[in-house]
């Protein structure tokens, strides 16, 4: 924000610093341990009176001088140059805070150089005592350099109380100073042994070669136990939260941890092997190999330490992208570009969005993510996203990915960044409004107000059955649409007929072979532990047949309807024709009703792939597989592998549908709590737009499930269900009350939108505690409010779909239609498909019997409001 950003693509993401630092760190530890190696080896030569060893030490000293002073010394300056280029703000903090530590380190650097030159160039020219003394001075100065740098490096990981008191000493002697110093000191000894192998095995004299190789092996092996112990000390000195983060919650770090753990015995074993008498042709390559392994070993440690520091460059003080933690809130309000001194675009317009996005990338992301380079390449990480999907991802990344800093900047900037990443890098675009959608033509069954004796009402119990159809990978729900019907014999006192009559249902012919368009039946056994024949539902229902009579109504349970007609395309409103016949087969009444069903789940916007069907719906294999891959990564499952081996799982086989469900793992969150609790982090503060990304409710989508009268008067999903955060918090709260830790963890990062604080959120169970119509329609009067969050039905039988009128005769849905599609309903599919029965029986789209049309069933006008109060009036929202 304060400095210009060196725009790197391939070389971004810290490649330069990694490339230079690994070598420097390795050599600089050699510069410390190797100093002790020199003086002790020289003492050994004196003690044993062995001139061959002394000559070896002289030779090794020259090698040491050339490696440490040239490559080591200059790359040290190189690291300094590099960090100042890549992260000038953090470098400036380190320089200004620790200037006198750096200056003192420089003093020791001078002493090192003078002492090493004197040591090497006075071999055999100074008395034993003086020569060794100079060697000891070199080692002391080198170790003091380590002492000082160690304080600064560990300050970045564990600054202790420094962020509060800004005191030099509390930052320098930080909580991991001493264990890290011990760890690095022992590491330096091991490395001295590894370099010792190289010079020892290159000795021409076989005897000397063996002697010195064994001597070098001692340097590797003797301190090893202390080295490991100090590593453990280092680990335990980390603050508990950081320790958990590093060792449990960062999947990337586990590679380096495993590398470190794996290479430890390899090094010991290599050291032991090299101590065996072998020809130089074997020991020399082995020595080089050991040196390389040591480099990787050190690299693993440094990557763990650096990785553990994420998302900070100075823990709890400055994020990896140079943003001070204290500035975050203000940046979120004012914006990055307007605050950044070196931004070219201060405001975002449609014309500059892409360029401004790139600029935001430079400021916010480039310090850790290369474009097409080897370090944290951003391209594969963003390949799966549309701009909106990535925008969502950015908004929640810090909660789910603990290594990422929270997004900084305004929502507008976030979208510009997402546009650069998704569109600029990949050409991915947001879905356009699904067009064209044509009004669906349906033949209206006849009804004669004067002649007909029966009124047949039918409805889908859910406003739209929403399901994912990547059945080869996973399934949220099976295809299972339920149609309910009531047959009324007209008269002054109408009767509900449920005996001596058969209700036949028949799905629209084009939808009768869903098995040809879906792999549900191939995977039903694995997904739902059932093997229905093709085109038969899980409960045994075919797509045409006889409805089951219940008291006063008829039901066709769990019809396996999919929105894919023969001939291709997507139609979320397949029609079901229902006929009432007497036992003799005479048709008493006929009607039609849509069985709304949709596979329009926008998972692909974040999970890659595309719509599977007709560019508007369906879950592609690529999308479904990515969902599992991410689940596997975040939750340590192996679902993708299982699916690829033909054993896909239903989500509910682990995540129960409800708290009291039998299925699933009782320790896990319910599916609803889990899926909403997780995704809410990415879809904060987006109103109903958040719902429409996964549910088929988007007004621009292919299903437009929210089509009822509430849509017409301007309400949306959040009016009744609350914002996504609230919705998720309610679900998570119920789980947290059951003692599920994950629920509390997910809830932690979510702020309630409708109420002031989380305590006010009412815990709720999915599929049980739902919005109650009477929250707003109190006493069936005109509502005084249009929001109803936090008041829920107490039990399942109070749900709208299960409720009936005050006479306990008619289901609410019989006259008002299913939730989300209440009469009068309309969307791009027209009016007819949604209001077929009002049109059939009344010639209008209003609830049945409204506008004082009691005669529809009663054949005469009525004065009693027997179905519910306030019904005898003109319909308000025509």
């Amino acid at each position: 924000m304060n400095y210009p950003v060196w725009q790197l693509d391939f070389f971004g993401g810290g490649l330069l610093i990694a490339a230079i630092a690994v070598f420097h760190v390795y050599i600089s530890h050699f510069a410390v341990g190797g100093g002790l190696f020199l003086v002790l080896a020289e003492r050994k030569a004196h003690r044993e009176g062995n001139p061959a060893i002394m000559e070896y030490v002289r030779r090794h000293a020259r090698f040491f001088l050339l490696v440490t002073m040239v490559a080591g010394g200059i790359t040290g300056v190189g690291i300094w140059f590099t960090i100042a280029l890549l992260n000038p703000a953090a470098t400036s903090v380190l320089i200004h805070t620790f200037v006198f530590a750096w200056a003192a380190e420089w003093v020791f650097f001078v002493i090192e150089i003078v002492a090493l030159f004197l040591y090497y160039y006075t071999f055999g020219r100074l008395s034993r005592k003086h020569h060794l003394l100079i060697g000891w001075i070199y080692f002391g100065a080198a170790w003091m350099s380590l002492f000082i740098i160690n304080g600064i490096i560990d300050f970045m990981l564990t600054p202790g109380s420094w962020p509060q008191d800004q005191n030099f000493w509390s930052g320098f002697f930080n909580p991991t100073f001493w264990p890290a110093l011990a760890f690095r000191s022992f590491f330096a000894l091991l490395i001295a042994g590894l370099f010792g192998f190289v010079t020892a095995t290159w000795s021409k004299d076989a005897r000397l070669r063996l002697t010195m190789t064994r001597y070098a092996a001692l340097w590797l092996l003797l301190p090893f136990a202390l080295f490991i112990a100090s590593g453990y000390w280092y680990m335990t000195a980390l603050p508990a939260e950081l320790r958990e983060l590093v060792f449990q919650r960062m999947p990337m770090i586990s590679y380096y941890l495993n590398g470190f753990l794996l290479l430890s015995p390899v090094l010991v074993l290599g050291g032991l092997l090299l101590a065996i008498r072998m020809p130089a042709s074997i020991t020399r390559p082995m020595a080089v190999l050991m040196l390389v392994i040591g480099l990787i070993y050190m690299g693993c440690f440094e990557f763990i330490r650096e990785g553990g520091r994420r998302p900070y460059i100075i823990s709890n003080y400055m994020y990896s992208n140079s943003i001070f933690t204290r500035d975050l809130e203000q940046i979120n309000q004012e914006g990055v570009l307007s605050r950044a001194k070196w931004s070219r675009h201060k405001t975002i317009t449609p014309d500059n969005r892409l360029a401004a996005g790139r600029e935001l990338y430079n400021i916010l992301c480039l310090s850790c993510h290369a474009v097409d380079g080897p370090m944290h390449n951003i391209r594969p990480l963003t390949a799966n996203f549309t701009p909106s999907g990535l925008d969502a991802m950015l908004s929640g990344m810090a909660t789910i990915h603990p290594t990422m800093p929270p997004y900084a900047g305004t929502a507008q900037e976030r979208f510009a960044l997402a546009t650069y990443l998704a569109y600029g890098l990949h050409g991915n675009q947001d879905p356009a409004k699904t067009t064209p959608i044509q009004a669906k033509e349906v033949e209206l069954p006849p009804f004669d107000q004067e002649q007909d004796d029966y009124v047949l009402l039918a409805w889908s119990t859910t406003g739209m059955h929403s399901l994912s159809d990547g059945f080869d990978f996973w399934a949220l729900q099976p295809p299972a649409s339920t149609i309910r019907a009531q047959l009324i014999r007209r008269g002054e006192t109408p009767e509900l007929v449920s005996e001596e009559v058969n209700l036949l249902y028949r799905l629209e012919p084009a939808f009768l072979d869903p098995a040809a368009r879906s792999s549900f039946w191939e995977n039903a056994q694995s997904l739902f532990a059932a093997s229905p024949a093709d085109n038969i539902g899980l409960s045994g229902s075919p797509l045409q047949g006889m409805m089951s009579p219940e008291e006063g109504s008829f039901t066709a349970e769990q019809l396996p309807i999919l929105p894919y007609p023969d001939g291709g395309g997507f139609d979320p409103y397949p029609m079901v024709t229902i006929e009432a016949r007497d036992p003799a087969g005479r048709v008493l009444a006929t009607t039609r009703v849509a069985a709304p069903v949709s596979t329009e789940m926008g998972c692909y916007q974040c999970h890659g792939g595309q719509w599977r069907v007709d560019k508007r719906a369906g879950l592609s294999a690529e999308t479904a597989a990515n969902v599992l891959a991410i689940h596997d990564r975040l939750s340590q499952t192996e679902l993708l592998a299982a699916a690829e081996q033909g054993a896909p799982r239903s989500c509910r086989s682990c995540h129960p549908a409800r708290l009291d469900s039998d299925g699933g793992d009782g320790q896990l969150l319910s599916l609803s709590a889990s899926i909403h609790g997780f995704h809410a982090h990415f879809l904060r503060e987006r109103g109903a737009g958040a719902c429409g990304l996964c549910h088929p409710s988007s007004p621009d989508g292919a299903s437009q499930s929210f089509r009822g009268v509430h849509d017409a008067i301007g309400l949306d999903c959040t009016s009744c269900h609350g914002q996504l955060e609230d919705h998720a918090l309610g679900l998570l709260k119920a789980e947290a009350l059951e003692g599920k830790a994950r629920a509390a963890a997910l809830a932690k990062g979510l702020a309630p939108q409708t109420v002031e604080n989380p305590d006010e959120i009412v815990a709720r169970q999915p599929w049980v505690n739902q919005p109650d119509c009477l929250n707003c329609h109190q006493e069936f009067e005109q509502p005084e409010t249009d929001t109803s969050f936090n008041q829920w039905t107490a039990a399942e039988d109070q749900l709208y779909r299960n409720r009936s009128d005050e006479s306990s005769a008619l289901f609410c849905q019989a006259c008002h239609a299913a939730a989300h599609g209440e009469y009068p309903a309309a969307n791009d599919y027209g009016q007819l498909v949604h209001n077929l029965q009002p049109l059939q029986y009344q010639g209008n789209t209003l609830p049945l019997g409204s506008e004082l049309n009691c005669a529809l069933c009663h054949t005469v006008a009525m004065e009693d409001e027997m179905h519910h109060p306030n019904m005898l009036r003109e319909f308000r929202n025509q």
Partner: protein, 359 residues
Amino acid sequence: MDPATLIPTPDVIPVHWGWFQLLLLVTFFMHILLMNVMVGTAFIAAVSHFYRDGGSSPATTAISEKLPFAIAFAVNFGVAPLLFLQVLYGHFIYTSSILMAVFWLWIIAMVIAAYYLAYIYKYKYLQLNKGRAILTGLITLLLLLVGFLFSNNITMMLQPETWARYLERPNGLLLNLADPSLWPRYLHFMCSAVAVGGMAIALFFSYKRHKGESGLQPWIRYGCSWFGYATFANFWIGAWFAGSLPRGLITMDSANGVFLLIFLISAIITAVFAVVLALREQVLPACSALLGTLALMVLVRDRLRSAYLQPWFAPDELTVQASYSPLIIFLLFFVFGIALIVWMLRLTWKNLDSEEVSS
């Protein structure tokens, strides 16, 4: 665009800025001296080898032995002034470094290459023969390039009005080539290096003569000549440099301008003395005058920086968040370090056998 809006906000400093200014000037003096010896002797060796078709001379032999030391200490004594420069002017030097980041980072590779080549020159001197010209030529070229990049950065950091170019080219490939004072400034420094390199040669052979070796007078003269003629040339380059400075940069209306002029005139006077003494082959007096000139020129350079930055910044604007204990500890280490180094050198000198130190 107002360049002031681009200048980053500096961080707070722990002690009064004067401490850093003092440390910056002292350590920079050491660095520039060592750098001059390094570049100058490398240059002289290269010229010598080119003229002699790679042939050896006592001067090149001496240079081959000492060049790695010169590089080691030139780099080492570059660290401290760069540190103190960053404390006072970090928000300028970080910025200009980023603008020329690609070139700036190449410095590391070039110094490593020059350093290792210098060791090859040292250890393979006898075997090299004709290769010496190419090798020393390469070393000199690398070091001259490094110097050129430093000149670019150090001038670009002083000119925020040139920074907005970054907004069009953020890829770290900007240099300060449009600055008319860049080339004379660079040449002034490099010419000074050649002069100091010559003086170093004269001093070395003068020391050996003092130790009793004979027949060295031609090589003392050789060094003095290089010093004298290079310094003579540098008067003209210096004048060119002064003339290339922006009009109105140096005025006598401010104390800064007055001091600059006083330092500059003093430096020219001591330089004239140094040249005259050198041409008379009075090495030690000439050397003293040279050191005086260098010290004064360091002060001139410092005042020139103040003049450049005057519209934008002065170190006394930095906020002090006082914390003196680290300074005290550093000063203790500093004194201890100097004492230890002196003690080690004396110990070695006193106890070394009578032979010359060599590999």
